[in-house]
C-alpha cells in the first residue's frame, strides 16, 4: 500500500492505494473529478523528496504528497 497525501488547500483526506509507480498513480487520480484540476499544478514528493519522473517506482509503505502552488511570506 502507498499513502497519498493532499497538502495545503486541496482539502482531501489521504488515500491508501495499491500502485507500483507514479505513472499508475497519475492514471488513477485523473479519474477523480475533485482532483483532476489540481494535478496540472501540483508538485509531487515521494517520502518527502520532490521527484520529476513518472517512472519513479513506488514500494509498499511509500508516502506520496501532492503540493499545490505555494506562497510563503
Amino acid at each position: 500500500m502507498v499513502s497519498v497525501e493532499f497538502l495545503g488547500p486541496i482539502g482531501k483526506s489521504p488515500l491508501q492505494l495499491q500502485v507500483q509507480s507514479l505513472r499508475e498513480l497519475s492514471a488513477l487520480l485523473a479519474q477523480d473529478p475533485e482532483l483532476s484540476a489540481w494535478l496540472q499544478s501540483c508538485a509531487v514528493a515521494v517520502n518527502d523528496v520532490l521527484v520529476s519522473s513518472l517512472d519513479t517506482p513506488l514500494r509498499s509503505g511509500d508516502r506520496v504528497a501532492l503540493l499545490p502552488p505555494v506562497c510563503g511570506g
Binding site: A27, A65, G73
Partner: protein
C-alpha cells in the same frame, strides 16, 4: 536555524536573538528580511499552512549553499493566522562579506517565494480563502497531470 511559530512573529525579539547569537563569530554583514502582512483587498489576516518535512529539506539545502560562501541563513515563519500589520516571515543572512550577503538574501528570499511548501490564505469575514492567484507552482509541477 528554522523556526516555526503559531501566529505573528515577535520581530524585535527574533532580530535581536539572531544578532546576539552570531555577534562574536566575525560576520561583517547581517541582513534580515522582515515580511509584514499588508492591509489590502479587505483582508483581516493572512493564514498559513506549512508542510514541515519538505520545508526543512529546502532549508537545509540553503544552509549548505550558504556555507559554501562562508555564510549562514536563518528563517522564521508563522503557522495559522497573522493579522494585518503583523509579521509572518523573517529570513536572514550572516556573511563575512557585504556583497555575498546582499546577493544571498535576494536569492534566498526569491527561492523561498517560489519553492517553500507554504500555502497562503486570505482571511475575509472570518473565511479562509486560498490565495491561488498569488501562488506559484513549484518547479516540476504538473507531473501527474499528463496522465492517460
Amino acid at each position: 536555524m528554522l523556526e516555526l511559530h503559531q501566529g505573528p512573529l515577535e520581530v524585535s525579539a527574533i532580530l535581536s536573538r539572531w544578532y546576539e547569537s552570531q555577534k562574536s563569530f566575525n560576520y561583517g554583514a547581517y541582513i534580515p528580511f522582515v515580511g509584514t502582512v499588508r492591509e489590502e483587498g479587505g483582508i483581516e489576516a493572512l493564514s498559513f499552512d506549512i508542510y514541515e518535512p519538505i520545508l526543512q529539506r529546502w532549508f537545509e539545502a540553503w544552509q549548505a549553499r550558504a556555507a559554501q560562501q562562508g555564510a549562514i541563513v536563518m528563517m522564521a515563519h508563522s503557522i495559522g493566522d497573522v493579522p494585518v500589520h503583523g509579521s509572518s516571515y523573517i529570513s536572514a543572512v550572516f556573511s563575512p562579506q557585504r556583497k555575498v550577503a546582499l546577493s544571498l538574501i535576494a536569492s534566498f528570499v526569491e527561492d523561498f517565494k517560489a519553492q517553500a511548501p507554504i500555502w497562503k490564505y486570505d482571511v475575509i469575514g472570518g473565511q479562509r480563502v486560498y490565495a491561488r492567484a498569488r501562488s506559484t507552482p513549484i518547479v516540476g509541477s504538473g507531473l501527474l497531470g499528463g496522465g492517460a
